[in-house]
């Protein structure tokens, strides 16, 4: 019985994967062709983004999201323009990376209220490490109600002490679950981060400290960490 269910799931999954591509072949501006004014505005947003070397894929995705949610065309353009600005800020803060996933993760963090300075600090401290997952965790912690400065300092400390991507994600999930169960975000983050930090080695000796404008604490320099 179990094998049969998995067989059904696998066949469905294969079919979904194989038939997904054709839907994805349209350009974002053509998606708004029914509204010439909106299409023109979107074209300008995309042109500006391209000139600023902002990755266009997340912008396309935003247009599709708006269409799927049946938003009015001009609202879609507005949301896309705001995302383009966040992507531009994230790209600058995370330079020299040009990875779309990482920049998009940075833009997500900005969306929930993280300051570009924090992204810049993480990049400076971890120049060779992909920050896609750490930034996703940071975003989710802030979205759970943890303050951006507290979450930023914690993610930085966890990276300093060698926390793995699965450990970071598990922390985020546990905090979310605790908050859902009624704990305050500050208690949940203290509880869960304490548990995780107790299992990690001490931070490297050259992790100094400091405070960035806006109350973001920083550590000192750290040798590049290999990408996971």
């Amino acid at each position: 019985m179990m094998v049969r269910r998995w067989a059904r799931l696998a066949v469905l999954c294969a079919g979904r994967i194989a038939t997904a591509a054709p839907l994805l072949a349209q350009s974002p501006t053509s998606l708004l062709d029914a509204d010439p004014l909106a299409a023109d505005s979107l074209r300008r947003v995309l042109a500006r983004a391209e000139a600023a070397a902002v990755p266009l894929e997340p912008l396309t995705l935003k247009v599709r999201e708006g269409l799927a949610k049946q938003a009015p065309p001009l609202r879609i353009v507005d949301a896309t323009a705001r995302l383009a600005e966040r992507l531009r800020l994230a790209r600058t803060a995370l330079a020299p990376t040009t990875g779309t996933d990482e920049i998009a993760a940075g833009a997500d963090a900005l969306y929930v209220g993280v300051q570009p300075l924090l992204l810049q600090d993480l990049r400076r401290r971890f120049p060779a490490r992909s920050l896609t997952i750490p930034l996703g965790v940071l975003t989710q912690l802030v979205a759970s109600g943890v303050s951006a400065s507290r979450a930023g300092a914690l993610v930085r400390e966890l990276l300093d002490r060698g926390a793995s991507a699965p450990q970071l994600i598990a922390l985020s999930t546990e905090v979310q679950r605790d908050v859902g169960a009624g704990l305050s975000p500050s208690v949940a983050i203290a509880l869960r981060s304490g548990g995780l930090l107790s299992t990690l080695p001490a931070a490297s000796a050259n992790s100094g400290g400091g405070v960035l404008p806006g109350g973001v604490t920083t550590g000192g320099g750290r040798p590049p960490t290999p990408r996971p």
Partner: protein
């Protein structure tokens, strides 16, 4: 990643690549046959059950091959092998392709939604280009639960369910995300790398 120097891999690729794309009706036929043979399969020996499982795995591989996942000629596990992709353009192909099933780092994630009144349930999210026609969930027999398994990149993803083609709902089992852009309910899934 595949290795074309391996003769077995090369033969599998040769036999699978020319296959036509999967038609929805063909899927229905396959599922109908699975149903028709249900009784007989219950009495199958253990080894035959494993054969069925391998067939299912082959079906998944077939799906990925159809999307170009195992094309070893691709420079990376990203966009270059997607059918109908426009290389280097700003089309949605690249984003959705990378996040919907073309990377070796993908992790299978099962979505579950429970709704006795639903006639159809689809999952839409950043991983499938928010294309709600694309990923229909299937009802688990004898229950009100709907499910689908999708390969996702590790990280944070936003998604929602579309019930009966009209009702946009967040996943009650997952954290909510505040959608200030469009005001629709949606959820977050954090995918762990394996």
């Amino acid at each position: 990643m595949t290795d074309d120097r391996d003769p077995l891999t090369a033969r599998v690729r040769e036999s699978l690549l020319p296959l036509p794309s999967v038609r929805p009706t063909a899927l229905a036929e396959v599922l109908a046959r699975i149903d028709a043979h249900d009784t007989r399969r219950r009495s199958l020996p253990f080894s035959r059950r494993w054969a069925t499982a391998l067939l299912a795995a082959a079906a998944v591989v077939l799906g990925f091959v159809g999307r170009g996942v195992f094309d070893a000629s691709a420079p990376s596990a990203s966009i270059a092998t997607v059918p109908s992709a426009t290389a280097g353009s700003a089309s949605g192909v690249t984003t959705a392709a990378r996040s919907a099933g073309l990377s070796p780092g993908m992790v299978p994630v099962q979505f579950v939604y429970d709704d006795a009144s639903a006639n159809t349930v689809q999952v839409v999210g950043d991983f499938n280009g928010w294309g709600r026609e694309v990923v229909a969930m299937s009802r688990v027999e004898g229950s009100s639960a709907w499910t689908v398994v999708l390969p996702l990149m590790p990280g944070r993803h936003l998604y929602a369910f579309v019930v009966n083609d009209t009702q946009w709902v967040a996943d009650p089992r997952a954290p909510r995300h505040s959608d200030r852009d469009f005001g629709k309910p949606e959820s977050v899934v954090m995918v762990e790398a394996r």
